[in-house]
């Protein structure tokens, strides 16, 4: 496809920097409606998604080049870029705004290049040709609307709060009740005589633009990855919305306005440390069960769909149900056709999932299940923590091991 656009550098640059905090590489996914950038960190505990609609750009031309390949017609060609190659382009966003008059992005599928061209003052033109690698799409499904706790706050307030934590602070705990909000630094229990300073901030619900607490909860997540989003939201001055549930379930920070949308989904620490020495029946069934009952109490949407728990395959109603309830995050960038393809992937993957369950990676964090066609599902020890509501619909790139090869950027 051919993508051609000029853009607001500051905001775009901040988005790149925010994504860079999550991972070294990101998915560059131009579609008809706009440009989507996604990334996920190596431990799968943080996922970033930024979508710029075509209206964000001064000019946005996207031409579909249909490729007769694979079972589905891919109308969009997602590709993966190493972020280090693009960061220099947007290194000093503030300076950039002053010196650069236009920035355009061209892609040429045939020779696997994305070109960033900066037209600067005094007739200077900087051209960056970055090689990309084709890959399978990356997407996370997270049902924001299913979260009982929703907070909306202006990014200024969040920044004012985060400033009290040292930049080295890795993790923080957000704890809410209907009358109180508290954010505190998190330190591992087993450091013995803790030598570190602990900071705690108490806020009044009044300070939030929107405050809904359906269930008292305490979630611990990584602050480092979030700071990127905070800087980004300050640039856009769009309020930040926070969707979360109980500990163990992911927390989503998002901003949205008419021309752009961003979601940062972070895994949260699960309280349940106990190991599943008793590896119960496949993730699938457990999931479905807990989902069914959880769902029943939360929203009527899922009811009546108690899937047969013992079966090795997900029932098609279930699969279909998922597609139906795709939250916005997933909707963008997927075509209907791709949706079907994804279902297939799901089916197969779940099978694989069970097979490899015994591998059981012991993750303290769990965000969502990646069903991978290539290397087995990653299963999490805390079954309670697994929420059915978010499945990744796609595989991470199979080239995880070998993406280093052939990925070069001529900057």
């Amino acid at each position: 496809c051919i993508l051609h656009c000029f853009l607001f550098l500051l905001v775009f640059g901040r988005a790149i920097h925010a994504i860079a905090r999550v991972s070294d590489e990101f998915w560059f996914d131009p579609v008809e409606k706009g440009l989507a950038l996604r990334s996920v960190n190596s431990s799968r505990s943080a996922y970033a998604y930024v979508f710029f609609s075509s209206m964000f750009f001064q000019r946005y031309c996207w031409t579909a080049v249909s490729q007769p390949c694979q079972k589905e017609k891919q109308l969009s060609l997602p590709c993966k870029l190493i972020i280090k190659s693009i960061l220099p382009v947007f290194r000093c966003v503030n300076v950039l705004e002053r010196n650069v008059e236009k920035c355009s992005i061209y892609t040429n599928v045939n020779d696997h290049h994305i070109t960033f061209q900066l037209l600067c003052k005094h007739g200077v033109v900087k051209t960056y040709n970055l090689t990309f690698q084709e890959c399978d799409p990356l997407q996370a499904v997270f049902a924001k609307h299913m979260c009982p706790n929703i907070l909306k706050v202006h990014s200024r307030l969040l920044a004012d709060i985060m400033i009290h934590f040292p930049t080295s602070q890795e993790e923080v705990t957000l704890s809410v009740t209907p009358v109180k909000v508290c954010l505190k630094s998190y330190a591992e229990e087993d450091t013995g005589f803790s030598k570190t300073m602990l900071t705690e901030i108490q806020l009044n619900p009044d300070e939030f633009d929107y405050f809904q607490v359906g269930v008292d909860s305490e979630v611990t997540f990584c602050l480092k990855e979030l700071r990127g989003l905070l800087a980004f939201s300050e640039a856009t001055s769009v309020p930040v919305s926070i969707h979360f549930d109980i500990s163990g379930k992911p927390i989503a920070f998002g901003i949205e306005d008419t021309v752009l949308e961003a979601s940062f989904i972070l895994a949260t620490l699960s309280d349940v440390e106990k190991e599943t020495a008793s590896q119960q029946p496949p993730c699938v069934s457990q999931r479905q069960e807990s989902n069914a009952e959880a769902a029943a109490s939360k929203k009527p949407r899922w009811n009546g769909n108690a899937p047969n728990t013992e079966s090795a395959k997900p029932t098609s109603p279930l699969a279909k149900q998922e597609i139906k309830s795709i939250p916005r995050v997933a909707k963008k960038g997927t075509t209907g056709v791709a949706g079907t393809a994804i279902t297939e992937a799901e089916d197969r993957a779940v099978l694989e999932g069970e097979a490899t369950e015994s591998l059981s990676y012991f993750y303290k964090y769990c965000i969502f299940q990646f069903h991978s066609l290539f290397f087995g599902a990653v299963c999490y020890k805390e079954k309670d923590a697994i929420s059915h509501t978010f499945h990744s619909l796609a595989t991470p790139s199979d080239a995880e091991e070998d993406f280093g090869s052939g990925q070069s950027s001529q900057v």
Binding site: H164, M197, L198, T199, E207
Partner: protein, 284 residues
């Protein structure tokens, strides 16, 4: 053992923060001594510090609106705590426009100084930021290690040049050499010298003035009867000098140093309500 204190006045708070920032630049860990009327930040001369020692004294009344302290015992109404001043500095950094700052000694899981900053917020109730700074309680049997060092029997005492100037000179010299020689005489002249294989640089200051020290039973006799032009000198670690100068955020009312030739340099920086003494031993 109890301690609680409160600062409500912003000017006092900023002043206190500045003192803490200075201390934080000089010592990674130090001892905080609390008495009914004063606070002391003490660094005793251990090999780990490179032999430097520090004594900083503040009158609590000049900073705190409320100050209550109960020491370990009635006859020893003092508290000695070991802490990392950088933590305290960080806790106070974001309290620039606080409504109030409360400091309390607590012992939940371990002894901590709890700094609670009450910040204004848009809502009806204030935002409260609490920092728990871990501290170590120093037992009474070790208190002797932290006595006020006595003013050494110096050869020359001289006022320092304008600190800002001295700081920029020393900073440039720091790039060239690890040690610096301070020499001064009783005629108000001071030289800062560095010497390496490639280059030697000397900066001369004059008309600095020499502080008059009241002689106590002639213990300053080594300074009297001394040839006015005769330089006393000591070679010290340049980083220590640079840290001292870099940490000064406000110009002191008085700044002077006492030099014991080839032994030690004793810096004294006096502000209205804070006094800071810094001892740097001479290098071999």
């Amino acid at each position: 053992m109890r301690f609680r204190a409160k600062i409500v006045d912003l000017a006092c708070l900023n002043h206190f923060s500045r003192v803490i920032n200075t201390i934080a630049k000089l010592a990674k860990t130090c001892t905080l001594r609390l008495t009914v009327s004063k606070l002391y930040f003490i660094l005793s001369d251990k090999v780990a510090n490179g032999g430097v020692s520090m004594w900083c004294e503040l009158c609590q009344g000049n900073f705190f609106d409320e100050f209550q302290m109960e020491g370990v015992a009635a006859e020893h109404n003092e508290i000695y705590l070991e802490l990392v001043p950088e933590n305290l500095s960080r806790a106070l950094k974001t309290a620039q426009n606080a409504k109030a700052v409360k400091i309390k000694l607590t012992n939940k899981h371990c002894p901590c100084l709890r700094v609670a900053v009450e910040l204004p917020s848009l809502s009806s109730s204030s935002r409260i930021v609490t920092h728990d700074i871990p501290v170590g309680v120093i037992p009474r049997r070790l208190w002797n290690d932290f006595r006020e060092p006595s003013v050494p029997d110096f050869d020359v005492s001289i006022y320092l040049p304008v600190l800002k100037t001295m700081k920029s000179v020393v900073e440039r010299m720091k790039n060239l050499s690890n040690s610096i020689v301070i020499e001064a005489n009783l005629s108000g002249e001071m030289n800062l010298k560095i010497e390496t294989d490639l280059v030697s640089v000397t900066t001369h200051f004059k008309d600095l003035g020499n502080p008059p020290w009241a002689s106590e039973d002639g213990c300053q006799s080594s300074a009297q009867g001394r040839d006015l032009e005769n330089m006393a000198e000591a070679r010290i670690d340049i980083k220590k000098l640079q840290q001292l100068l870099a940490g000064q955020q406000v110009n002191p009312t008085k700044a002077l140093c006492n030099i014991v030739s080839k032994r030690i340099v004793h810096f004294i920086l006096l502000h209205e309500d804070v006094s800071l003494q810094y001892f740097v031993p001479a290098l071999a």
